[in-house]
């Protein structure tokens, strides 16, 4: 494989001052710890001074790769005064001075055609750190799906790890990656996790709306020795014959079906020796006619033994998945107290707005999760689960169905227009099945809390002292799901793919595809374009969101009681709503904003989250705000201006006696940048 690695060390070891970082508070994993909390009990930055925060430093990522990136999603790590992050369309690793942002070293891998063909390109979400007290290593996964180990001190690959510092993740995977190692579809954009000297790595694929084949590659989970890169175990997310769950795939579909990867963050209980794996949808996202059965471990939370990868327990959140709910973020490992009894719990936030809570040792639900009968659909050849699990507690923290009561209702006219628009679609509560699209209607099933709803990859946070979960959710992210017979076998061998009747068909792609520094790629065959016609119009009403506010929320959920303590709209009212002529004279409370890109950070007293959209208001010029809320009440206590919306989850640390908050921003006209905030030194 033609590839070139480059590392550049920009600071000579001898000139750095040898300082003690004893008082530093580090951020050593993607979520701040292995439990997924995104919590640090720091209080230098607090309600009294948040408004006085200044930009301490910024790091523009444009030149890390051959093109700027507008989708910087990383959350950095901070260890021993050094900040590590993935960055740029190259997905290089950068090491920065945590106090000044000065570049210490950079390491990138030029993967050529393999990088160009990768399903998940761009900068990725982050990396992992390991140390045995002497040696320090940085681990990350390249767009071309290779696990790379670097010396944290200088960015050089570790010669003794894998082959010259990297492990080819397309090999030794209990399957032959099709069609070949260069173009074979499999990758990963999330951060690997390191626990007890092993690295856990998942797998991701292209967007699964219009898969080319039902027999896609499979997304197994593996662990590797952090010292040597040797494979330690593998977990088959689609069971092999003889393994538990194989019988949930009828007609031999376990052999045939692919995807079912793990593309988000893993959490680990090192003390109990358990790892928690959130598994995604099998092939394809919205049509499951080629995979009859419940399809374990699709959309299941799986607990495995950290040392062996053997399944301890699992819980399938969605049987026979048809809505692309996946499991999109890190499971939260919390020690709670229910009815006076301590419970070692795991809480799983989701796109569908349910927080599923289990005893993390036994897998038993903490509060009953009832199997509820659900509607069977009518798409030819589809197999439908008769029931779906619905948690009795806590209540859903974001909307997960399109029903008349969630439609825009600022004025009777707007509401009537919304009802007219919606009448062309099938609607209903959570688990309303997709439809075959028809020109006369329904065009699609309108859904909330599916592909992009609720809590997505930035995940939720929790406070281990108060046992409160804080979850951002998109409360208005509508996804139309309509299916059409596959127009030609070159496009897909599946009977149905996502599409709208009467519209020109096209393969649905994601922006992580063909987008990285190794592109342009040859791309896939597109159907020749017939004349377009039919279909629906935009899913809005006079330019206003079809769904009523709050568009995006943050919820505080008490896990001792399974209750929502408070819920607030997060983010300024969008300009289009605030300035809309039809809404003149109406008093509209802050609506919050839609979007999936918002993560939460918890400190001693604050809940910190940035706006996911840009606004221009009487209070601030065009920009987005990083906000602080009193974590006890949800009351906003401060906000600082940023030139672009947040595009990754924020993190915090102490370096040399100073607290910093670092967040990735990008979007629209603004390319990727890490921004660090701290209090001015004059104080």
């Amino acid at each position: 494989m033609p590839r070139i690695a480059f590392s550049a060390l920009l600071l000579v070891a001898g000139i750095a001052s040898a300082q003690s970082h004893a008082k530093d508070t580090e951020w050593p994993t993607y979520a701040g710890d292995l439990a997924g909390s995104k919590y640090k009990p720091l209080d230098q930055i607090n309600a009294a001074n948040f408004n006085r925060l200044e930009v301490a430093w910024r790091f523009k990522t444009d030149n890390i790769g051959n093109r700027p990136e507008f989708k910087l999603e990383g959350t950095p790590l901070m260890i021993n005064g050094v900040l590590y992050a993935t960055a740029g369309s190259r997905r290089a690793v950068i090491a920065l001075d945590a106090a000044t942002g000065e570049l210490i070293w950079v390491h990138g891998e030029r993967e050529g055609p393999r990088g160009a063909a990768a399903p998940r390109q761009l900068s990725g979400r982050g990396l992992a750190y390991w140390s045995d007290g002497k040696e320090e290593r940085i681990l990350y996964v390249t767009p071309g799906y290779r696990l790379v180990a670097l010396n944290a001190k200088n960015g050089q690959p570790i010669a003794g790890f894998g082959k010259n510092g990297s492990v080819d993740l397309k090999l030794d995977d209990d399957q032959t990656i099709k069609p070949d190692l260069v173009t074979g579809e499999i990758g990963l954009q999330s951060a690997p996790v390191v626990a007890k000297d092993e690295i856990i790595v998942g797998a991701a694929f292209r967007e699964g709306m219009t898969p080319k084949t039902m027999a896609n590659n499979k997304g197994y989970v593996r662990a590797f020795d952090v010292r040597t890169g040797k494979r330690l175990w593998i977990f088959h997310t689609i069971p092999l014959k003889g393994e538990v769950g194989y019988d949930t795939w009828l007609d031999g579909s376990a052999e045939r079906t692919g995807n079912t990867g793990l593309w988000t963050q893993v959490t680990v209980d090192e003390k109990e020796g358990l790892a928690y794996l959130p598994i995604e949808t099998p092939t394809g996202d919205y049509y499951g006619g080629h995979r009859p059965g419940d399809n374990l471990y699709g959309e299941s939370l799986v607990c495995v033994d950290l040392q062996t990868g053997k399944r301890k327990w699992h819980y399938q959140l969605v049987h026979h998945p048809l809505w692309d709910m996946d499991i999109s973020s890190a499971p939260l490992l919390m020690d709670i107290k229910v009815d006076g009894k301590p419970v070692k719990a795991v809480a799983q936030p989701t796109k569908q707005g349910f927080l599923y809570v289990f005893d993390r040792i036994t897998g038993k639900p903490v509060w009953p999760i009832d199997e509820k009968p659900v509607e069977k659909g009518t798409v030819p050849g589809e197999w439908y689960a008769a029931t779906q699990p619905v948690p009795s507690r806590p209540p859903a923290y974001s909307r997960n169905g399109v029903t008349p009561d969630v439609l825009i209702d600022f004025t009777p006219t707007l509401r009537d227009q919304a009802l007219t628009l919606v009448s062309k679609y099938k609607t209903g509560p959570v688990f309303t099945p997709p439809v075959a699209s028809s020109v006369g209607g329904p065009l699609a099933t309108l859904t909330l809390g599916t592909a992009s709803g609720g809590t997505n990859w930035p995940g939720a946070s929790f406070d281990p002292e108060t046992h409160i979960v804080y979850a951002y959710a998109c409360n208005s992210c509508v996804t139309p799901i309509g299916l059409i017979p596959t127009p030609s076998p070159e496009i897909s061998d599946m009977r149905y793919v996502l599409g709208t009747a009467g519209q020109e068909f096209r393969i649905a792609r994601g922006p992580g595809e063909g987008a990285g520094a190794d592109s342009p790629s040859p791309g896939r065959t597109q159907a020749p374009a017939p004349a377009a016609g039919g279909g629906g119009g935009p899913l809005n009403v006079q330019g206003l969101p079809l769904i009523k506010p709050p568009y995006g929320t943050i919820s505080a959920i008490d896990l001792d009681k399974g209750q929502i303590l408070w819920q607030i709209a997060h983010g300024d009212t969008p300009d289009v709503v605030r300035n809309h002529p039809s809404l003149k004279g109406l008093t509209i409370p802050r609506t919050g904003q839609s979007g999936y890109n918002v993560g939460t950070l918890i400190t001693k007293t604050l809940l910190i989250a940035g706006d996911g959209q840009v606004t221009t208001t009487p209070d601030h010029p065009r920009g987005a705000m990083l906000r602080a809320y009193d974590k006890g009440t949800g009351k906003e206590v401060g906000a600082v201006w940023m030139p672009a919306p947040v595009s990754g989850a924020p993190m915090t640390y102490m370096a040399d006696g100073k607290q910093y908050i670092v967040v990735a921003i990008s979007g629209g006209v603004y390319s990727g940048e890490y921004v660090a905030f701290s209090l001015p030194s004059t104080e």
Partner: protein, 169 residues
């Protein structure tokens, strides 16, 4: 202890200078953005129906795979219609949107579409967002498009000061 972390206190003058330079550069950049005054509004009719129709055909081939045929966004691609989209561009110019598309899209081969095709696609996006068409086509030159304000809502009709005074009395 690590030999590679230089403490914040080790070179305070240097660090302060770096911040000053960065702020100054950002200010210059901002001035540069505003240098050309946007004299027209996207509400005045800045493209033609024919251009938008051409743009639709290109959009469906080049853009809809990620952004959706209804511009509602994909699993991960942002929407190109409605508040979430307009939030990114309200207060900027059509030239800013045009240049963003022209230089970074389509993601798998940025810059492969000609200025003319990019202008057509931009026209279609404007049409889909409800901005009115008119008799002149959207220009292919960024500097001309930077004179057109992107405003998510129709601006208040400008009332001549004399008239307003007369009304008030």
């Amino acid at each position: 202890m690590t030999p590679f972390s230089s403490g914040a206190g080790s070179q305070p003058a240097y660090h302060r200078l770096a911040v000053v330079v960065a702020v100054f550069a950002a200010a210059l950049f901002a001035v540069g953005l505003c240098a050309q005054e946007a004299t027209r509004s996207v509400w005045e009719g800045v493209y033609t129906e024919e251009q938008a129709a051409r743009g639709k055909s290109s959009y469906l081939r080049q853009c809809a795979g990620c952004h959706g045929e209804l511009m509602s966004g994909g699993e991960m691609a942002p929407p190109l219609v409605g508040g979430e989209f307009l939030a990114n561009w309200n207060g900027l110019t059509v030239g800013d949107l045009f240049d963003r598309i022209r230089t970074s899209m389509p993601l798998n081969s940025p810059g492969k579409l000609s200025r003319d095709v990019n202008a057509d696609v931009t026209a279609y996006i404007l049409q889909f967002n409800g901005f009115p068409a008119s008799r002149s086509e959207l220009d292919r030159r960024s500097e001309v498009l930077k004179q057109i304000r992107l405003e998510s809502n129709r601006p208040e009709p400008k009332v001549p000061p004399n008239w307003r005074r007369r009304r008030a009395t």
